[in-house]
């Protein structure tokens, strides 16, 4: 193998992985034997690191993104490294109240919340308490990282509230949050915690139980003296005011790291299911202990809501003459039946299934991030998107993430690209999305990039049925959430050339990465497509026929 080929292969393994063990061994051997190859590969790695670090640089005028994006301002919401780091340092200063009474600390936290200071509005510690104490950085607008799933009557945030990085504390009751990666956390009062990222929470004091779904492994629960790193699990931790604590794993496994005063890991213990450990920082010790599952609070969350439709809903849809209408009642021979006789056929692929809700409603179910599962519609799709069109459906997302809900593709030997994508985003700093948003793209000819796109900030909530619709009318694209317009923009009247519609995924390649496939996790129901733009009042009427609407 010559050097460029070997280097290209090394880059492939370094950047994307996927090499066979034989290829890896061979490349490592060559690195061992060839100093020139080592030098050249190190140059490659150094340049990759430099460009990545420069991409999010601060000040903004030096951002590599701006240069590459030719100043389109697409990352105007970028949060600087400095801001995030100082925010985390602020969270470290905060536990200075440890050692005083819990009541004082929680009272201070509650006062902080009442003052509207949830977002990095830190209390100012007494300089006498710590040599590092003093005024803290001014608050900045950070994107949300979690949403409240529910709580007791004492909860400081209502269900559906979006939470940005900062402190959350309660003296009574409980609250369950869900990060935008799908990690559910129930805190039992009294507690004080700091949300520091979508895959990281700092528990300063109190009890928390954490459920990490497939795809979100690596979540970290930090505390002043120890840290729990999830390896695909459900676990709980208890942090006391003196820094001691316990951790128990209920399912899967997790690593517990004992930290020193610099926050460096000094000792690690892997916990498997039904194992517990006690952490004592003053003794620098992790001690295996006997506990019961019942010693910890359970994850508290409301049951998945059912979609309740007005009795006339199906008749209303049929009265609007759709080109295709799928009610997700059952799967027969791999097919979901279309209420409209014709050529449009929907297949259920992978582990895509039909779920039956408590109140009896049936819906399409997509549950796995780690598999290619989706519904695919073929036949007659091009005719729907030739000119004006409408897509209408109900969706219930298990959590908020970048999920492709509907995509239309042209798949043949010459063209493999999208002509339409409707997807949701959650807190995408690079494009200035602070909470959640809907995003649509039209492309002609079908492609993997480019085309007019439309963004609309929208308060999507996980575990709740939402009605979503998209229309194109005389070249104007409109996105509706629960009957309300959340985005409207001219997008062109080109005939969209597609022969496949994917529901719950960007396209059907099982080898795609999660980023590439944007597979949805959740439920979908009452999908209808129309070869014309429905009137706004018709969209609103369909949305109001579902029980989730205001």
């Amino acid at each position: 193998m010559n050097t460029p080929t070997t280097l290209a292969k090394l880059l492939e393994g370094w950047l994307d992985g996927g090499l066979s063990e034989t290829e890896q061994s061979d490349l490592l051997r060559q690195l061992d034997e060839d100093p020139e190859l080592r030098r050249h590969f190190a140059e490659q790695v150094a340049m990759l690191g430099a460009t990545r670090a420069a991409a999010d640089s601060n000040p903004r005028w030096l951002s590599l993104f701006d240069l590459l994006e030719q100043g389109d301002g697409s990352d105007k919401g970028l949060t600087s490294f400095e801001t995030v780091t100082m925010g985390r340092i602020d969270d470290i200063i905060r536990p200075a109240w440890r050692g005083r009474s819990v009541a004082w600390g929680l009272a201070a936290a509650v006062a902080l919340l009442l003052a509207g200071g949830f977002l990095l509005e830190s209390r100012r510690p007494n300089p006498a308490e710590s040599p590092l104490a003093g005024p803290v950085p001014k608050p900045v607008e950070l994107p949300a990282v979690a949403v409240v799933l529910g709580g007791s009557s004492e909860a400081v945030h209502a269900a559906g509230a979006f939470l940005k990085p900062g402190v959350i504390a309660q003296t009574e009751g409980w609250i369950t949050l869900q990060t935008f990666k799908g990690v559910s956390v129930t805190f039992d009062a009294p507690f004080e915690a700091a949300l520091t990222g979508r895959d990281r929470i700092r528990l300063n004091q109190g009890r928390a139980r954490v459920h990490v779904p497939p795809g979100a492994e690596g979540f970290r629960l930090e505390s002043p003296a120890f840290e729990v790193v999830d390896l695909g699990t459900e676990f709980a931790a208890n942090v006391n005011s003196d820094g001691t604590g316990t951790c128990r794993v209920f399912e899967g496994k997790a690593d517990v790291l004992l930290l020193d005063s610099m926050g460096e890991s000094k000792q690690t213990h892997r916990l498997n299911a039904s194992e517990s450990v006690r952490i004592n920082p003053s003794h620098q010790a992790l001690q295996v202990i006997e506990e019961q599952d019942s010693d910890y609070p359970a994850i508290k969350r409301a049951p998945r809501p059912t979609l309740r439709l007005a009795p006339s809903y199906a008749a209303d849809v049929m009265g609007m003459a759709p080109a295709g209408y799928w009610r997700f009642e059952s799967i027969n021979g791999g097919q979901v039946s279309n209420e409209v006789p014709g050529v449009m056929r929907m297949q259920a692929l992978g582990s895509a299934a039909i779920a039956v809700e408590d109140a009896g409603n049936h819906s399409g179910e997509l549950t796995r991030l780690d598999q290619a599962e989706f519904f695919k519609i073929q036949g007659g799709t091009k005719a729907v998107f030739e000119r004006d069109f409408t897509i209408s459906f109900f969706a219930q997302l298990s959590w908020l993430q970048n999920f492709a809900m509907i995509s239309a593709m042209r798949y043949d030997r010459q063209i493999k690209g999208h002509s339409l994508i409707l997807q949701c985003y959650a807190s995408l700093a690079k494009i200035g999305i602070q909470e959640s948003a809907l995003h649509a793209v039209l492309r002609d000819p079908p492609a993997w990039d480019g085309g007019p796109e439309i963004f609309g900030g929208a308060r999507l909530q996980p575990q709740r049925w939402h009605h979503l619709a998209m229309t194109r009318h005389n070249g104007t694209l409109t996105i509706f959430l629960d009957g309300d317009i959340v985005a409207r923009q001219t997008a062109g009247s080109m005939a969209l050339d597609c022969n496949e519609i994917y529901v719950g995924r960007l396209n059907g390649n099982a080898m795609q990465s999660r980023t590439e496939s944007r597979g949805m996790v959740g439920h979908i129901d009452e999908l209808a497509v129309f070869p014309r733009a429905l009137a706004e009042e018709d969209i609103r009427r369909l949305a109001m026929s579902g029980n989730r609407v205001k």
């Binding site: 492939e12 590969f41 790695v45 150094a46 690191g49 420069a54 601060n58 803290v136 610099m262 690690t268």
Partner: protein, 187 residues
């Protein structure tokens, strides 16, 4: 971009230790890029790399009283960052993933060369890097752009309507040109 001299760094550290903790943000601003470059070069997952960079500064903040101001603050930070990166690769969860193991093995083999190159490139490469990226042919810029957006090799190949193999060659040539350009600027 102006760099702080050693005396200014020492003054900021003294101020932080005297209770003016917001002053630490000056150190984060000043040394954020070298620390992040160091970590991004070694840790492929961008989110992990950013976390580790933040943790490096948090550890520095916690241990600031231990820093000897007659020494290089950047070298001290890089030492902390190196420790964090090693901890990252040592973490048992990642050890089990073949791709991570391969990266860790590669890194172990090229660490001394990598440190050497980082020393050669110099102290503040950002403005030079920007100039050098601007000079790249459009197709190479497209590869870098798609990569920075988080696309993997297959997707970049689709976007540029070429093969995966060609993408890695393009990436390699882009890196070569950047390195040559930056070395030229630093000499």
């Amino acid at each position: 971009m102006m760099m702080m001299d050693d005396k200014e760094v020492a003054d900021v550290i003294r101020a932080v230790l005297a209770g003016k903790s917001p002053e630490f943000s000056r150190l984060v601003r000043e040394f954020g890029l070298p620390v992040r470059s160091f970590i991004h070069a070694r840790v492929q997952n961008a989110a992990d790399a950013e976390d580790l960079a933040q943790e490096t500064f948090i550890a520095a903040f916690r241990g600031l009283a231990k820093f000897d101001t007659s020494q290089s603050f950047e070298a001290w930070l890089i030492g902390i960052a190196r420790h964090r990166v090693l901890g990252h690769f040592r973490s048992s969860g990642r050890r089990q993933k073949t791709n991570e193991l391969f990266r860790a093995e590669c890194l172990a083999r090229i660490e001394s060369e990598l440190s050497e190159i980082e020393g050669e490139i110099g102290h503040d490469p950002l403005t030079r890097l920007m100039d050098c990226v601007e000079k790249l042919p459009e197709r190479m810029r497209q590869v870098i752009r798609a990569r920075l957006r988080g696309e993997d090799g297959s997707m970049v190949a689709k976007i540029l309507n070429t093969t995966r193999g060609a993408i890695y060659m393009l990436q390699m040539r882009a890196n070569d040109q950047l390195k040559d350009c930056m070395m030229k600027g630093s000499s």
